[in-house]
């Protein structure tokens, strides 16, 4: 699946004090914001300009979002881990202490700046999950898959639409052998 890339705008001042802006394209929309800032600063360190700021561009499609004033949230998943029960052993949930037979666990860190509800579904069926608020705009989503061990399985993380925010484009994680 082709992800749409985003861009950065790096703002600096040159040695004569003039404001400069540089666009950096081909940026991963799921990259961590702090890492993007560090990247921009490292690039700027190769020049004689003084760093001012970095902006990540949020792409809004005017055709799809025509006639609405709702904001599109920034929604991305990173640091995803998949773990499974070893052969002959059951997967244990660390949330409720229950033992699940032949289940897979996926845990991901989701960055979401909207105010809708976050939920996860496995193969399009709502399944057991927990969402823990970690820090500003960051959530840990842990989903325990169904008892079926047929692979591949698709875990989709969704948000709901609110008065202020649109529903974000769902994130799909694929669990393969």
């Amino acid at each position: 699946m082709k992800m749409s890339k985003t861009s950065l705008i790096l703002t600096t001042t040159d040695i004569l004090g003039r404001k400069q802006q540089q666009s950096i394209t081909d940026v991963n929309p799921n990259a961590d914001t702090t890492a993007l800032k560090t990247f921009a600063q490292m690039c700027n360190a190769l020049t004689t300009d003084t760093y001012v700021s970095t902006d990540r561009i949020d792409k809004i499609n005017c055709d799809l979002e025509a006639g609405t004033s709702k904001t599109t949230p920034t929604f991305s998943a990173s640091k995803t881990t998949f773990s499974k029960a070893l052969a002959g052993q059951d997967a244990t949930s660390t949330d409720d202490g229950m033992i699940y037979n032949s289940r897979w666990t996926v845990q991901t860190t989701v960055t979401y700046n909207g105010d809708g509800v976050l939920y996860a579904s496995v193969n399009n069926a709502i399944d057991t999950f927990t969402v823990t608020y970690s820090s500003a705009n960051t959530y840990t989503v842990k989903a325990i898959t169904s008892t079926s061990t047929t692979l591949p399985q698709t875990i989709t993380i969704h948000t709901t639409e609110t008065d202020t925010y649109k529903a974000a484009t769902p994130i799909t994680l694929t669990l393969t052998a």
Partner: protein, 81 residues
């Protein structure tokens, strides 16, 4: 009035992706001395943190393939002398 000479430089970095496609990033006002270590550190950082994606199929970043400084000199000829 004599001829006026202005020089300017750019730093062109070529990023390569695992599908062997490459993209250029160009910066103005490069420093006088840029070391290989600085470019390699940037390359490692991009790779570790998933900063850039390739154009064709959002392929992962592989490495910085090349970095070059391009200097241009413009001489404005004095047409009044």
């Amino acid at each position: 009035m004599a001829d006026v000479v202005k020089t300017s430089g750019t730093l062109q970095i070529v990023a390569e992706f695992v599908d062997e496609d490459d993209r250029s990033i160009t910066f103005k006002n490069p420093k006088a001395t840029i070391t290989a270590a600085e470019i390699n550190a940037l390359s490692s950082f991009i790779k570790t943190n998933g900063i850039l994606l390739g154009d064709k199929d959002s392929a992962d970043f592989s490495r910085i393939k090349s970095a070059k400084k391009i200097q241009s000199t413009v001489k404005y000829l004095d047409l009044d002398s």
